[in-house]
């Protein structure tokens, strides 16, 4: 487990981190490629310095300028914004947004009402599994349904993940477009005043069926980790998701009697439900997908849709250092999400301290993360080159 670190050391350590470890070159290429056809200098960056001094509307022309800026300002937080019609430092509020990657933000605090192992800022390998499920579901949907190819997944530094889609169609998608994608992916709706947040009707859409298949791969494991319905409170919340009073009473009766194991209780519930449906044909109309709805409410990704909908939100950059945890926002491959262990994620402290016990492992993991980033950027550059060539050919034909 990581030792307690001293935030006061950050101002000394950050310049070293930026010079030795932050992949500046690839970073600039990623942003430049994503700013196409506008130059890199039209992309907004923002820095948060020590004492929460916030600088917006920053931009860079090239890597050299980026390096200088990093050394000079030594930001504690580095955020990425949109591509504007003019240099943001000149346009400021009046600049018009032209493009920005399609982004997603999934934060484990949004799972507080279902996760039992941790709450708020705390996070552990058990609740990390929710992120594994989320990555797989979202990644598959973005590829299979929307045809996106260039999808970057980044650990957000403490308790979540960010996703950046750099395909041209994604970058130039307007606000209603982003809203539509967000709504398509969003199955859990409702605030504190709603107990049952998932309602499935008619036939299950192919994407929902697919998501359930993915959830099923992990459901038992998560159920055992989290023991959703073992405690009295957990059981109570679970029962609130059952819309039929008679069934609810039946389930309550059966489950309360049982052993506390959530896995056993879940099986008990499934049996009770199936039996009930056989005996009450009418009930099934109201609750055809009750089991699926519950699984989704527990395990389906909880996106912050506002981040996706607004295309000039400033979002934390990959490879930033989280000031509270010291962890690097590493880039990971979605298929490797399950093997990601929180204490194996590199921190600024372990990277810069040769004597630290996890120094070797973290350095190695850092290299892997940078390599992941590099691969993605290379393929993005290739895709962009092909696209530009096709466009050029197409306009010749237009004559």
């Amino acid at each position: 487990m990581a030792e307690q670190h001293d935030e006061n050391l950050l101002p000394e350590m950050l310049p070293l981190y930026y010079t030795r470890h932050f992949p500046q070159n690839i970073f600039c290429r990623w942003l430049a490629c994503g700013s196409n056809p506008k130059p890199l200098s039209n992309r907004e960056l923002s820095f948060t310095l020590a004492d929460d001094v916030y600088l917006r509307y920053l931009s860079i022309n090239d890597q050299k300028e980026f390096q200088t800026l990093l050394q000079k300002k030594c930001p504690q937080k580095l955020d990425i914004g949109a591509v504007y019609n003019i240099k943001p430092s000149i346009g400021r509020h009046d600049a018009v947004v032209l493009a920005r990657e399609l982004v997603f933000d999934i934060d484990l605090t949004d799972y507080d009402e279902v996760r039992t192992c941790c709450q708020q800022a705390k996070v552990c390998d058990k609740c990390w599994k929710f992120m594994v499920v989320a990555c797989e579901i979202i990644h598959t949907a973005l590829q299979d349904d929307f045809g996106f190819q260039n999808i970057l997944w980044v650990f957000s530094g403490r308790r979540g993940v960010h996703c950046w889609v750099s395909d041209y169609e994604a970058r130039t998608l307007d606000s209603p477009g982003r809203a539509a994608v967000a709504d398509y992916l969003c199955l859990i709706t409702g605030g504190e005043n709603l107990n049952k947040k998932v309602h499935l009707t008619n036939d299950l859409h192919s994407s929902i069926r697919r998501s359930l298949t993915i959830i099923d791969k992990y459901f038992e494991e998560i159920l055992q980790d989290q023991e959703f319905i073992s405690s009295t409170e957990g059981l109570k919340s679970f029962l609130k998701m059952i819309p039929d009073e008679a069934l609810k009473t039946l389930v309550e009766g059966n489950l309360e009697r049982m052993h506390k194991s959530s896995l056993e209780r879940w099986d008990g519930f499934v049996n009770t439900y199936s039996q009930y449906c056989k005996e009450n044909i009418n009930a099934i109309r109201k609750m055809k997908y009750l089991i699926e709805e519950i699984k989704i409410q527990y395990c389906y990704p909880r996106l912050d849709v506002n981040v996706t909908k607004g295309f000039n939100h400033l979002l934390k950059s990959p490879f930033s250092i989280h000031p509270k945890t010291g962890k690097v926002s590493v880039v990971f491959k979605p298929e490797q999400a399950k093997s990601l262990k929180l204490e194996e994620i590199p921190t600024i402290y372990s990277l810069l301290d040769d004597g630290a016990p996890d120094n070797v492992q973290h350095q190695s993991n850092m290299r892997v993360a940078v390599k992941n980033f590099q691969e993605l950027v290379f393929s993005l550059e290739k895709a962009e080159a092909i696209r530009r060539k096709n466009d050029a050919n197409a306009s010749i034909l237009e004559f």
Binding site: A99, N202, L314
Partner: protein, 501 residues
């Protein structure tokens, strides 16, 4: 957003007989009119179309009717006829390709008026959005009432062709098409014609998961074409308005037009609650006011703030702007939020992470716009996620929770049942109106479309400025008749959000 540099295409200007120019009741306004008309006709046409658009807005936002439903259509057509706009009613009732002189004249007026209003509504983002929303409603309504032979003619005239998918492909995908396409169980999906279009052409269908997606393409059945068309139409309008805006300078050289164009929407905008309120509400009285005069949505937020000493972003925005609208000063606002939040956090953190946004809402930071409090439509359509308690309680709460809450407030049993009844039927604003009547012991049956309106009406009532009249009599207040413009003044995009890490 198209970065391609297109050669400026010169569309051939069509001159000729009316029959040639206007072959169809429905058009997409691709070619501007070129004839000469009198100033008088210019003005008349503009005002008539404005009335039409207004009528649509009333149906959707004020009356809360579901767009394109029978009642909505009935209301719109009825209102148009009452207002003497028979030709618009004719165009909306059953679009076709008739060649009667009346049809041709109607189409001509429709054509010219559309372009005039583009000039009046291209000026600002808010105006553009209002105009596009209305024109889109109009377009969809007319498309839906089109006779089937007219539909084919329409497609031909507008060069609309989509990739019809082959039978082989359709059979391969039939399993997915069947489960993902939205259709009536009485219809036989195997007989549908499917078209492949890029997903962003049919956002309405994608949003609601009513269509099968694969590799970025949506497989749209013929009957859902309206979705494709309206997306294209919307893009076309946006683009056109941007162009119109660029030419505004030239047009404004003509004094005769300037005042007409500028004044058009003005004459008509309802109260948006951002002008300086004459009343300043002292923050100390906020607790009692929340019980007496706040609509339920704000009362709920206030209670949550007092008990949890925190509200998430959506709640802070909705409630904060409301407070501004009722007359709470910036200083008082800061004091109020600070007092609550510092019960669970350091003063430092509050100042750095929350105070900025409060000042921003009052127009003291950033782009310094004075943001308008949200109206009901915006609140009802808001996203409400885990941990949130903003939004409209008549939309975003479970019926039991709502019922218990209202009973807990001491409202009469019958009143509570009426409110919950309306909520179950989806009539949020009517439920709110009943809540108003229940809390004040009146039968005013107000048309609620803005939380600040609720507050004002309540205050007026409590101060004895209006008499509580029984339900049967006519509404005493004229404010209700004015449509609440659905100005989306505040874009979530515009705020540099402090991402709480």
């Amino acid at each position: 957003m198209d970065f391609k540099i297109k050669r400026k295409s010169t569309k051939t200007v069509v001159t000729g007989s009316l029959v040639e120019n206007y072959p169809h009741d429905l058009q997409m306004y691709k070619i501007p009119p070129t004839e000469n008309i009198s100033l008088h006709e210019f003005e008349a046409l503009a005002l008539e179309r404005l009335t039409l658009l207004r009528c649509l807005a009333t149906a959707t936002t004020l009356k809360g009717l579901r767009p394109y439903s029978e009642e909505w259509t009935e209301f719109v057509l009825g209102d148009l006829k009452t207002q003497g706009l028979k030709y618009y009613a004719r165009l909306c009732e059953k679009s076709g390709c008739g060649t009667h002189d009346a049809d041709l004249q109607a189409r001509r007026k429709d054509h010219i008026a559309h372009f005039i209003l583009r000039l009046a509504y291209c000026r600002t983002e808010e105006l553009r959005r209002w105009y596009i929303a209305r024109e889109l409603e109009l377009f969809k309504m007319r498309f839906m009432t089109m006779k089937s032979d007219a539909v084919d003619a329409f497609f031909k005239l507008n060069n609309l062709c989509y990739t019809n998918i082959s039978d082989d492909e359709k059979n391969e995908l039939m399993k997915y098409l069947r489960e993902s396409t939205f259709y009536q169980s009485t219809q036989n999906i195997e007989t549908f014609k499917f078209y492949k279009v890029k997903f962003f052409e049919v956002l309405d269908l994608v949003k609601a998961r009513k269509v099968y997606l694969k590799g970025g393409y949506a497989y749209v059945p013929h009957k859902d074409f309206i979705s494709v068309l309206s997306a294209q139409y919307r893009t076309h309008l946006r683009h056109s308005l941007a162009i119109a805006c660029q030419h505004l300078g030239e047009i404004e050289q003509d004094e005769r037009l300037v005042s007409l164009l500028k004044g058009l929407h003005q004459a008509y905008s309802g109260n948006d609650y951002i002008s300086d309120t004459k009343v300043v509400i002292p923050i100390e009285s906020i607790d009692s006011l929340s019980v007496k005069s706040f609509p339920l949505c704000m009362r709920q937020l206030h209670e949550q703030l007092r008990s949890a000493h925190h509200l998430k972003h959506g709640g802070r925005l909705q409630y904060g702007l409301f407070l501004k609208g009722i007359g709470v000063t910036l200083e008082d606002s800061l004091r109020f939020w600070r007092e609550e939040f510092t019960k669970i956090m350091e003063l430092d953190k509050f100042e750095k992470q929350y105070a900025y946004n409060i000042r921003y809402n009052y127009g003291k930071e950033g782009s310094k716009k004075n943001y308008a409090p949200f109206n009901c439509l915006k609140i009802i359509n808001n996203n409400v996620g885990p941990g949130d308690c903003h939004g409209c309680p008549f939309r975003h709460s479970e019926f039991n929770i709502l019922k218990n809450k209202l009973k807990g407030y001491g409202l009469e049993g019958q009143a509570v049942n009426d409110i919950v009844d309306m909520t179950k039927k989806g009539h949020c604003q009517i439920a709110c109106s009943k809540y108003f009547d229940a809390v004040h012991n009146t039968g005013l049956d107000l048309g609620i479309n803005h939380p600040n309106q609720f507050f004002e009406e309540s205050q007026k009532l409590l101060k004895g400025e209006i008499k509580a009249e029984p339900k049967k009599e006519s509404k005493p207040n004229n404010n209700i008749k004015k449509e609440q413009d659905n100005f989306e003044d505040m874009d979530l995009d515009e705020i540099a959000e402090w991402k709480e890490t």
